[in-house]
């Protein structure tokens, strides 16, 4: 098949970007989308032209490295797949493929289609875990967990951290990403112990990174390659609200900080109240 590409090129985060056109006329439709870029890059290498940088690693939809916008859709027009799982036959109907990086202020472009998603790591570092050391834990069956809750926690935990949610959000909000971890851990008895602390810390870290607020456009839920639901955002709101109410009562370094007239806490509660999601 013949392919007409318009690919975003950008030398570095401060350089001005532009679209570069390429025409390929011998693309096999069984090729994956990234293999098509490989073919183009091998050609560019031998022509001594700068190759196109893009993120990828496992190429089977689980590591979360890859991610570009193809014709306006994060991870391309197919539902429930990552960029690396798109094959050229899925793109046959398009005359031109416009390929762009995630466009999010908190994800500065590193080069071409590669963006810096370290903000996601920092949000999780702020509290996206259960504070247990290795060793000295109880037997795995010591606490029974309902299958329903466990399965729900698993669904939330299947987030791959690709960043598509923020990329498609009109406000560049990363609330679905943050909520996925909150929701995963809040539904497990082991995770409940630090739930208040976790949600306050993670939301604070999220805001610090410069992501926008959620306005329930649901774009994230529609384009998430792993089908994560907006109900996790509802869970985050509940957790956040609960935590805010008791923050001043619990002796905790973080919460004490909130107690000292830090009014951004209140602003979150207000925000939370209009991130209302209808749960059916």
């Amino acid at each position: 098949m013949k392919v007409h590409l318009k690919i975003w090129r950008q030398e570095n985060s401060s350089a001005r970007g532009y679209f570069e056109e390429h025409f390929l006329d011998d693309i096999n439709e069984d090729m994956s989308f990234l293999e098509m870029l490989d073919v183009l890059n091998e050609r560019l290498t031998l022509e001594e032209k700068p190759t196109i940088s893009f993120s990828h690693d496992c190429r089977e939809g689980i590591c979360g490295s890859c991610g570009v916008v193809i014709n306006g859709h994060a991870h391309g027009p197919l539902k429930g797949v990552t960029t690396c799982q798109i094959h050229m036959r899925h793109l046959k109907k398009f005359k031109t493929l416009v390929i762009e990086p995630w466009r999010v202020k908190a994800f500065p472009v590193i080069k071409d289609l590669v963006v810096d998603r370290s903000a996601f790591d920092r949000i999780l570092q702020a509290g996206g875990y259960i504070s247990v050391n290795t060793g000295g834990v109880p037997d795995a069956n010591a606490i029974a967990i309902s299958k329903f809750e466990s399965d729900e926690a698993f669904m939330a935990a299947s987030c791959i951290g690709c960043g598509a949610c923020a990329a498609v959000c009109p406000n560049s909000s990363a609330l679905l990403f943050t909520a996925a971890k909150i929701s995963h851990l809040a539904q497990l008895p082991q995770g409940k112990i630090e739930a208040h602390h976790r949600v306050l810390e993670m939301v604070r870290a999220l805001d610090k990174e410069g992501f926008g607020a959620c306005s329930s456009s649901r774009a994230c839920e529609i384009e998430c390659p792993k089908g994560l639901s907006l109900k996790h955002v509802a869970q985050l709101n509940r957790e956040f609200f609960k935590a805010s109410l008791v923050a001043h009562l619990v002796e905790h370094p973080t919460m004490a900080y909130h107690g000292k007239g830090d009014d951004d806490l209140h602003s979150h509660v207000d925000e939370g109240s209009h991130i209302h999601h209808e749960e059916k």
Partner: protein, 637 residues
């Protein structure tokens, strides 16, 4: 050089507890005086880094990825074994140990494998405490399944995403210590050499992949958890970036490389569709529970599957192995599929595939049941191939998947370079000549959570707090070597891309050092690899700058190392003049066509010493003694 595995004395079941009592300890307040480098952030690396940081050590960690969470452990599907005996079906530590030694075709070290089985239960406890959402029963307790032909149900799983969930658990523990300031994590940093000072590992040379800058870091000890080298076959189920460079450079600095030719080829992967193919996707082993593997009875039959009547199909695994049928172990299935394709019975445009057919299963169980069991796998298959497996049988072919070989380590998981520890797939230790399904995750986490925290302390205690500075001459020299090689690569400006040579290398490796091997083929591979290496250093073309993000340069660096490791793999396969597990020498097979071991002559670990540039490797043997298991011949008829 004399290899000493440092196996503790005493009965098998007491070795690890005796060891833990006998080791030297480091005062809790003194642990913070030690700096430790961890290479890799997969299950082994992340669990080691987190556990050591919790104890108080200062950790510096490197990954070539943009986040520790991307490491390829994330892609493991099936599950993780542990001898919990939650199912009351007769499992215990000894049985898991025995199954692992036997599954590895008696080419692993008893003491290490027993320890692995012993700590397996702790891993599950740890993961649950971290919030890993394993599959559960309706009563709220953990579910198990039988995996890879095991007689007991000891595999814990989280849908088909067990590796992901375990890695995210370890990544959480890692994040907590990054937050606490005990771990400094360097992403987009690739380790390109190990520094050895006065005979001990003293640090690493790394390249910042974004800036292109070559830097050095020193430490009291270095932990390598850099994974395996299946990508040497070019087409494998590994991530594109998975590579052997850190391990290979350590080897050239004095770490012996053990059983390099022991690789596992997974039987059920989606076949390559053309020369542009960049990787292969694994389809879970569980598909063989209900899918039937077949080829047409006539060679190069071009009819569609549906047009081939039952009588003209050859269900060759069921025919050859009536009792195990389609459920024979991975190596047996993979080899038989290859043999059928080589003999001309392969199907599809390339002839390098066989059918995996669910038609009978749909008839027997109904569409709904099949969908509930395999729906997500069928969907994945359809996305990649465009074929609907409910209507047309799947096409599958084996692909390189895991490397049992790796850097030689003793019972402490320390290589022959003092202070260089090797964990997870990067070491050779526990799987012998064939790894059982759901045991890779177990080993990676056992090494990181429960073994290295003890053995590292034993090494450091009594060595003093002094650390070699990173401006020491060994570091300056190491940086020079790395920089020179990069300069050479970017200056060659030849006519072929690094990928081109890598593809050629992969073809040679798949043909001669893959599922079945024979003397003439291996000798042929050796000379072809040598020719490719010469071609590479004459004619490779690396475009782009060296002082910035340059994927071409990264690839060239990795391919250059593969071209050396490949030769050692064929050398090792040639020297092991027997068949065992995944190492199948066609000269040595039983009347049933099974791998024929030669225990009298080959019951050893082949540990290879680097002889210097252009010189031959030297083999050292670690004799394997089996005091607790009886060596038997596998048979699946």
């Amino acid at each position: 050089m004399k290899l000493d595995a440092k196996i503790p004395p005493g009965p098998l079941k007491d070795k690890w507890s005796n060891y833990r009592f006998d080791i030297k300890l480091i005062n809790p307040a003194n642990k913070r005086k030690y700096d430790i480098i961890v290479i890799g952030s997969g299950l082994a690396g992340a669990s080691a880094a987190a556990s050591l940081a919790e104890l108080g050590y200062n950790i510096t960690m490197f990954t070539y990825n943009d986040s520790p969470r991307r490491a390829h452990s994330i892609a493991a599907q099936g599950g993780i074994n542990a001898s919990k005996n939650y199912q009351n079906d007769g499992d215990n530590t000894f049985r898991l140990f025995y199954d692992t030694v036997k599954g590895g075709d008696f080419r692993s070290r008893e003491a290490n494998v027993y320890r692995l089985a012993e700590v397996s239960s702790n891993i599950i406890d740890q993961c649950v405490a971290q919030g890993v959402p394993f599959a559960r029963e309706y009563g709220g307790l953990l579910d198990n399944r039988s995996f890879g032909g095991a007689q007991v149900s000891r595999t814990f799983y989280a849908k088909g995403q067990t590796g992901q969930q375990l890695l995210l658990g370890a990544y959480g523990a890692l994040n907590r210590q990054i937050h606490n300031g005990k771990i400094k994590s360097y992403v987009y940093h690739e380790v390109l050499d190990i520094v050895v000072t006065d005979g001990c590992a003293s640090g690493v040379i790394v390249r910042d992949l974004l800036k292109g800058e070559v830097k050095s870091f020193s430490a009291h000890a270095v932990i390598m958890a850099s994974g395996g080298y299946s990508n040497i076959y070019y087409l494998s189920t590994n991530a594109k970036g998975s590579n052997s460079s850190a391990a290979w450079r350590a080897h050239k600095k004095g770490a012996l490389f053990a059983n390099p030719s022991f690789t596992q080829i997974h039987p059920t992967c989606i076949p390559a569709s053309g020369h542009y193919q960049s990787k292969l996707t694994l389809m879970s082993e569980s598909l063989r529970n209900d899918g039937r593997i077949w080829v047409p009875r006539v060679k190069t039959d071009k009819r569609a599957a549906a047009d081939i009547p039952e009588a003209e199909r050859d269900y060759f695994l069921e025919r050859k192995y009536p009792s195990f049928g389609n459920l024979v172990p991975r190596d047996v299935a993979a080899r038989n599929i290859k043999e059928m394709c080589d003999a001309g019975y392969g199907i599809g445009a390339t002839g390098m595939a066989v059918y995996l057919d669910f038609n009978d299963a749909i008839g027997r169980l109904g569409y709904k049941e099949v969908e509930s069991k395999y729906g997500n796998l069928f969907e994945m298959y359809e996305t990649i191939t465009g074929d609907d497996p409910y209507g047309k049988p799947m096409k599958i072919y084996p692909a390189a998947h895991y490397t049992m070989g790796g850097l030689w380590v003793d019972y402490n998981l320390m290589s022959t370079i003092p202070g260089l520890f090797v964990l997870g797939e990067a070491n050779f230790s526990d799987h012998g000549a064939n790894r059982l399904g759901a045991s890779a995750l177990m080993q990676g986490l056992a090494d990181g959570y429960f073994i290295i925290p003890y053995t590292l302390g034993n090494y450091l205690a009594g060595r003093g707090f002094r650390k070699v500075d990173s401006d020491h001459k060994d570091f300056i020299k190491g940086m020079g070597v790395v920089n020179d090689r990069i300069d050479k690569l970017v200056s060659l400006k030849g006519k072929v891309t690094p990928d081109h040579i890598h593809r050629e290398l992969g073809t040679v490796m798949r043909n001669f050092v893959g599922m079945s091997r024979f003397e003439k083929g291996l000798k042929n591979a050796r000379s072809e690899i040598k020719a490719l290496r010469e071609e590479f250093w004459k004619n490779v073309h690396v475009s782009g700058p060296k002082d910035g993000l340059n994927e071409n340069l990264e690839k060239a660096n990795r391919v250059a190392d593969y071209l050396e490791l490949a030769e050692l793999m064929s050398e090792d396969a040639l020297a092991r003049n027997e068949s065992c597990g995944g190492h199948f020498r066609t000269e040595h097979q039983t009347a049933e066509g099974e791998a024929q071991r030669k225990d009298k002559n080959f019951s050893y670990v082949a540990a290879w010493e680097y002889g210097g540039d252009g010189k031959a490797h030297k083999m050292h043997k670690e004799k394997l003694d089996f005091e607790n298991v009886k060596l038997t011949q596998r048979s699946y008829k």
